[in-house]
């Protein structure tokens, strides 16, 4: 699909709410170089959200939606949790799945899309909380990776079940006491990034969403590698400021503190050999394209 398909009927244009008019006129669907820098100058694919004020999940959503390489041909799959309340406000096709089932739904969806649209690139991106990814949905998460399903799994890791008031999750840190987990976590944070690598993911990143340029890079890499090679996994720290007792201005600092070298969200990346090769090819093509564009611009101004 291209942006040309997304047009409002002329005779009813004036009655469309301005949000939709803006999406058609000023959103970045179909723009090859779209990225976080478009935020503030173009219509975003998410504006309102129903998260707590200052929740880092809202930043993560904005950066991810600005960075998807192919939003008009992407279907996102969500699961129950704080993220699921945001999806109705997202201007990308999305499916809500039963809690934990997201990677099973995405497997079927990706396969169906490849059969239905053999000549078009269709990306599938799962975005779910840590409870959905690592606890209740772990079976579906791992089985999709074992089967080498070609889609990206993003986990918004806030280290607990936020939407239901703060229960313990597998990704919670050892010893952490939450509102609904008063005893304190008795075992270590599950090492899902390592498990992802061992389970066949071709690209795995563990980081925070404090830097939009980094989020953009890892999202683009993850989607491209999933499209061409196999499963990819991103674990993004999006602290639940409500449950860890921070106020709305403190989310960014919390992420910065947690990504210091010895901390649990220090940047970690794994790229398989075929994925490395693909990224090198993509980088070379990108360089070529940019050089050609520069040359063309030079000729035009001469």
């Amino acid at each position: 699909m291209s942006k040309e398909r997304i047009q409002i009927s002329e005779d009813l244009y004036d009655i469309m709410p301005s949000d939709y008019q803006d999406l058609v006129k000023n959103a970045t669907y179909g723009k090859e170089d779209r990225g976080w820098k478009d935020i503030g100058t173009s219509k975003e694919l998410i504006e309102q959200h129903s998260l707590c004020a200052g929740c880092p999940e809202s930043m993560a959503f904005r950066y991810i939606l600005a960075s998807l390489p192919n939003p008009e041909d992407t279907v996102m799959v969500g699961s129950t949790g704080c993220t699921s309340l945001v999806f109705p406000m997202v201007a990308v096709h999305n499916i809500h799945s039963l809690f934990g089932n997201q990677n099973a739904i995405a497997s079927g969806l990706k396969r169906a899309l490849s059969v239905r649209f053999p000549d078009r690139v269709k990306d599938v991106v799962v975005l779910a909380g840590d409870g959905a990814t690592v606890d209740i949905g772990l079976d579906m998460t791992l089985q999709a990776w074992f089967r080498q399903e070609k889609f990206t799994t993003i986990c918004f890791d806030n280290e607990l079940y936020a939407n239901t008031g703060g229960q313990e999750s597998g990704l919670m840190q050892k010893g952490f006491v939450a509102k609904m987990a008063p005893v304190g976590k008795l075992f270590d944070k599950v090492r899902l990034p390592e498990i992802a690598r061992e389970s066949g993911c071709h690209y795995v990143v563990n980081c925070t969403v404090s830097k939009p340029s980094l989020v953009e890079k890892v999202i683009r890499n993850a989607v491209h590698i999933a499209r061409e090679i196999g499963p990819t996994y991103l674990q993004l720290y999006t602290p639940c400021i409500l449950e860890i007792g921070k106020n709305s201005m403190e989310g960014l600092q919390e992420m910065r503190d947690s990504e210091k070298p010895a901390e649990r969200f220090a940047y970690k990346e794994y790229v398989s050999e075929p994925a490395k090769q693909l990224l090198a090819e993509l980088a070379a093509k990108d360089k070529e394209r940019k050089a050609a564009a520069k040359q063309l611009a030079g000729q035009a101004s001469a």
């Binding site: 398909r5 997304i6 047009q7 409002i8 005779d11 009813l12 009655i15 469309m16 129903s50 406000m89």
Partner: protein
Amino acid sequence: MSDYRVLPGPEHFLPPAAASMGIRLPNPGEAHINGVIAPEEKAYEEAARQLLMARVPTIFPGPLVLWAWNEKAAKKATAIRHLFNTLKECVQTGQKPMLIPMPDYRPKYPKINPEVEINPNHPNLTIWHNKIDCCIFVGVHCHQANLSLKIIRGGTSCYTIAMCAQAGHEDAMLSFRDASVDKIMRLAETVKRLKGTVQPRLSTAKSGASN
């Protein structure tokens, strides 16, 4: 044949699906009025009468016509605009025709603006806010139209009409089937023909908002 009649509500918090009460859909060339199969001719007259009688007759175009998916969709949009313009020409002082879109079906949070749109998950908000007492749905996918029609029948006294492109809607008080540009234009013609012959419910109007 079922004795059940699909009438303006408020029927119940959750009214039964008309199909479950034995209401069946019209065959090609037919329509239904209050759940009773009727010739299409009669349905044009009744729909036009209801629109001309209402204080706030409203057209709700859905995504199938708001978005220019293809040439046919764009032509339907033109016909809908014509129907609206005709309605505006034919009503009397005190009546206020409206054209309010249903751009998509997302269960929007935290809220919709009922002045500028209608959402199938809480269509009653738009009906109440604008005091709409007669509406016509066109270009809304079947499931979402059924959902809206049931909620409206459940919680408001608004008269509902479906200009359906498929087999019709049992849950509307009046439903056409196989909607086309011609059928929308034909309804507009009927409205024009009946101009001045229908007494609007201005003073006695029980609007959707009163319930």
